[in-house]
Each structure stands twice: as C-alpha cells, then as structure tokens.
C-alpha cells in the first residue's frame, strides 16, 4: 500500500461495511429526497444521503404551522409527511441513486410488522445501501410510547428488521429517555450494525399573542445548535457503551462541531438543521476536518474517532 502524499488526508470512512467518501451525511428529513438542493448543494458533497422517513403508505403530515424558531434552535412537527414507499421507489429513488453518493433509506412503521415489511422492500430496492430505522415514532401496540424508549421493544424491532434486511442496518435513537445506553446495547445485541444519535428532543412553544401553541400539533421536535451539548453528551456515553460504530448528530453547523463529535467517539456525523442555514455546510465541514487533521499531523479522518487527549 502506498502511503499518502505529504499533507494529503484520507477522507474516506468505512461504516459498518459501507465505504463513504467522507464521514459527513445528510440527516433524515432535512435534505428531502436528495434533489431539492440542486444548484445550491450537490448531494455528492455528502458521504451519504439519508432520506426523509419513508412509510408503507403515503402520509400527509401534521397540521400547520409545522415550524417554529427557538433560541439557537427550531421546533418541527412535520410528522412523517412522505410520499409512501411505492412512490419513493418509483419517483424519488432513481434520481437519488444517480446523485453521486451513498443512499440510506430511513424508515418507520406503526408496528414491528410494518417496519419488517418496509425493510424487506428496501432490501430489494436497487441503490439503497443501508437502512436507518427511525424508532422515535409512536408504537401503536404500546399506547403510543416510542419504539426507541424501551430496550426490549427496540431490540425486538431491530431483530425483526435484521431478518428482513441483509445490508447495513443503522438504528437511530431518541434522546428522550433517562439513559440511552441500555437501548443502545439492546439494539446492538439484536443485530444493528451502527447507531445514529440523536433524534430531536421533545419541545414546545406558545404564541402568547394568540394564546395558543406555536405549532399546529402542539408539541414538536427540537433541533439545531441548541441541542448540540445534549447530543454530544449522548454520543460520548453511548460510544463507550457499545462496540458498533456511532453516527453523531444534533446541532452540527461547523467543522469544529463535527470534530467534537468525532473526538467524543463518533465514526461519522450527520448534518440536519444546518442544511437550512447554509447548504454549503457539508463541503465546509469536510474541508475543515481535513484542515484539522493536517494541523494535528493525522493522515485520515478515521483517526479522529475517539481521539480525546489523556
């Protein structure tokens, strides 16, 4: 093997079997189906694109208003608005496959059976390299408590999907629990290849002039820089609790933020809300990561994972 030319930093990472040209991925729900940012931000700047959550049937989503800004953050109650898996495969996937990057499908269901069926469909979908399970959705069989709250439920779900899907399986965890580690361990034991964390925090805002919730759906999910310290905390702890790779996300805006997550133990990171603020974020982050490595004499971005001093 030839060594890198001097100063050259290898940006590729191998994530649970998939090779990504760089460790920066587009977070589910913030990059549409990969083509909406055309002209502003080529999807190919990303190491991988994760789709908006896809469900078996099309879903209209929640009543508006669906967005509300908060200090250094935003609440969304989009719900799982999506075109459904049939139209996804027919209308969205072909363009996405040709976007010049790895495609990861994010899925959710109302029951474990729905997840498994979707996983089976995605297993046969050409160009889908991996699956990310959104387990932050209400489990209809369990009074609407999210699948990802209970280690046992999360583990059953993972096992069912694992049987139906042969490629890389990522489980995206919710931070709305007392301790993410038990869920993380359960999901890893059930066959997940990697974990993504965090999904949004529960939040709410009230319009005092109209005396009503700012969101049509009353409550929503908090994302953006405001939640970065919380996300980093969980990534630090969970990456020490499991042996499978952790993908960190939550409020990442800059290369410095991304470095924090990698140092804390993440093997890759995702960019969500930052897409709305600056679509050039992925390129800037990759450049900044390379510059950081160069400053510290590292030859590969992979060396950043867990590289805390002391």
């Amino acid at each position: 093997m030839r060594s890198n030319p001097p100063g050259r930093v290898d940006t590729a990472v191998i994530l649970a079997g998939i090779r990504l040209k760089n460790p920066v991925m587009a977070a589910s729900g913030t990059f549409g189906y990969g083509t909406e940012y055309r002209g502003l931000s080529p999807a190919s700047a990303y190491g991988a694109i994760i789709t908006k959550t896809v469900t078996l049937e099309p879903r209209p989503g929640n009543p508006p208003p669906r967005l509300c800004e908060t200090p250094s953050g935003m609440l969304n109650s989009i719900g799982l608005a999506n075109v459904g898996v049939d139209r996804f495969l027919r209308e969205k996937l072909p363009a996405l496959r040709n976007a010049g990057t790895v495609v990861i499908a994010n899925i959710a269901g109302r029951t474990i059976g729905e997840y498994a069926r979707l996983a089976g469909i995605m297993d046969r979908a050409p160009g889908v390299s991996a699956l990310e399970l959104n387990v932050s959705c209400p489990n209809v069989a369990h009074g609407g408590v999210a699948f990802g709250v209970n280690p046992l439920t999360a583990s059953r779900l993972t096992r069912a999907v694992r049987r139906a899907f042969r490629k890389t399986l990522i489980v995206k965890l919710t931070p709305n629990v007392a301790d993410m580690a038990p869920v993380a361990r359960a999901v890893a034991a059930a066959g997940a290849d990697a974990l993504s964390l965090i999904n949004t925090l529960y939040g709410m805002s009230i319009d005092t002039a109209r005396r009503c919730p700012s969101l049509g759906n009353v409550t929503g999910g908090l994302s953006g820089p405001a939640i970065r310290p919380v996300a980093l905390y969980h990534v630090y702890r969970v990456s020490r609790a499991v042996r499978i790779p952790v993908i960190g996300l939550g409020g990442i805006m800059t290369a410095d933020d991304a470095v924090q997550f990698l140092l804390a133990g993440a093997s890759a990171i995702q960019v969500g809300t930052a897409n709305f603020i600056d679509p050039a974020t992925p390129e800037k982050i990759v450049k900044g990561l390379v510059a950081y490595c160069r400053r510290h004499g590292l030859k590969s971005l992979r060396e950043l994972t867990g590289w805390l001093a002391g």
Partner: protein
C-alpha cells in the same frame, strides 16, 4: 432556474416609513433570473439566534441588484435594519414559483394589503413590459402606513379613510371586478384579505393568483415545513409549490398557516 446562494453586499438599506426598510443587495445572478412573486431568503448575520434565514419577496430586480421592502417585526428583521451599506449578507434565491404572467388580452389587477405591496412594483414592471398595464389596488390601515412611490399610481383604500377610499381593499376590488372585459387578479397580503379576494374572484369567475406566507426553513421544498392545506386535502409547500398559487387550490377554511 436553479437558485444560487451568495454573500451579497448591501448597496443601501434605508428606512422608508417608520419601521419599514428598503434594502438593495448586489446579486447579479439573482437579479437576472428573478421573476415577480419569487422570493429570496436572507440570513440574519449575528450568531445562531435567530437561526433561520428569513424569506422576503423580491421588490425589484435590475442592473445586477435585487431589493426587498421589509417591516421590522422581530429580531431577524431588527438585525437587518441595523446593517449598513457595504456589509455582506448570505442570500439565497430566486426561490419559489412567481406570478404566472403571460402576454394576452387581459386587464391585470394587482391587489395588495399592507406589506403585501412588496412584490407589486416588480410585477407591475414586468406586466407593463408585456403591454399589460396593471391597475394597482392597495389598502392599509391608515395614511401614515402607506408604502411605495406614489408613482405606482395605485388606487388606495385605508381602514380609517385618511387616504383614498375608506374601507378595505377588497371593496376596491369588487368595483374593479364589476367592470367589463377580462380581468386577472394578482394578490398579496394577509390571509383574511386573500381569502376574501379569492371568494370575490371565484364568484366573478376571474382567475386569481395569491401569494401566501408560511414559516419556512429550507425554502426549497425539502423540509415540508411550510405546508398549507390544499382544497382537496393534503398539503402544498408554500416555498416550492408557491408562494404564488391559483387561489382555487387553497383550502380557505383552514387556520392561517403562520
């Protein structure tokens, strides 16, 4: 036209009326491709609070610059109002579907309420270039709030009668619609006004295009945050299916999507 993003230099930023500013930005690419009714998103420059870019209608576009006419209503617009010539701002645009303007034999009626005047000068200019000199109907609360160069030649209504006709701009529209000849309505303003305009046009079977507002994040149709309920159920994205819609596509019974 795919939109572009740039650090646009501020050419001027002046208070035209108490709390209402006109900002001109150097953005040749956007100026060239912009169509009336489209918008740009501008990111407040300081820190991450406020976080999201703000949408503003293109007020005018020419000679490599675009301008926006904006009212200071919160922290984002307050930050913008504090900026001066020479400073740079992150701007994305042009975004969305503008007013569909075609040559043809029709009378365009531009109906504006309050800040809804913002996109009208650009629209009027483009219609005029097609030989369709528009009638502008413009309403606001009181004389002191009237915006824009008087040269727009608008017919005016104020709630308190301090200038032009007393009453709502929809009153002016009713009269206009009564006249003979084929009319097309282009409207921008508060939800309640647009609903009323839509109703009037539907009764008179006059084509009507309305420009809507919604809270936005991406401005590109990617996040589904700016949903408005369509008349057949289901949601439309204000940023990419609009902001200008055929008024018959919108379910006017819903709560305003802000």
């Amino acid at each position: 036209m795919t939109p572009s993003r740039l650090q646009a230099r501020i050419l001027s930023n002046r208070e035209k009326k108490k709390g209402v500013f006109l900002m001109e930005l150097k953005a040749p690419g956007i100026a060239r491709s912009a169509r009336p009714g489209q918008f740009i998103m501008v990111r407040p420059p300081h820190g991450s609070d406020p976080l999201l870019p703000r949408p503003f209608s293109i007020h005018d576009a020419r000679d490599g610059s675009v301008s926006i006419l904006y009212r200071v209503v919160g922290r984002g617009t307050e930050q913008l109002s504090g900026l001066g010539k020479g400073q740079a701002l992150a701007v994305t645009g042009p975004l969305g579907r503008g007013f569909p303007i075609r040559a043809g034999n029709y009378r365009p009626a531009l109906v504006a309420g309050g800040m809804g005047l913002a996109p009208m000068p650009f629209l009027a200019k483009k219609l005029a270039a097609l030989g369709r000199i528009p009638k502008i109907l413009y309403g606001c609360r009181t004389k002191g709030e009237l915006l824009g160069p008087s040269t727009l030649g608008a017919v005016i209504a104020t709630d308190d009668g301090s200038c032009g006709r007393r009453g709502l701009v929809t009153g002016l529209l009713e009269e206009e619609l009564c006249r003979a000849g084929s009319c097309r309505v282009f409207a921008c303003g508060p939800w309640a006004m647009l609903r009323q305009v839509s109703l009037l046009c539907q009764k008179s079977q006059v084509p009507c295009q309305v420009s809507l507002e919604a809270r936005m994040a991406c401005g590109l149709g990617a996040c589904q945050g700016c949903a408005v309920r369509g008349v057949h159920g289901g949601y439309l994205s204000v940023c990419s299916d609009g902001p200008v819609f055929d008024s018959r596509l919108i379910d006017w019974e819903q709560e305003p999507p802000l």
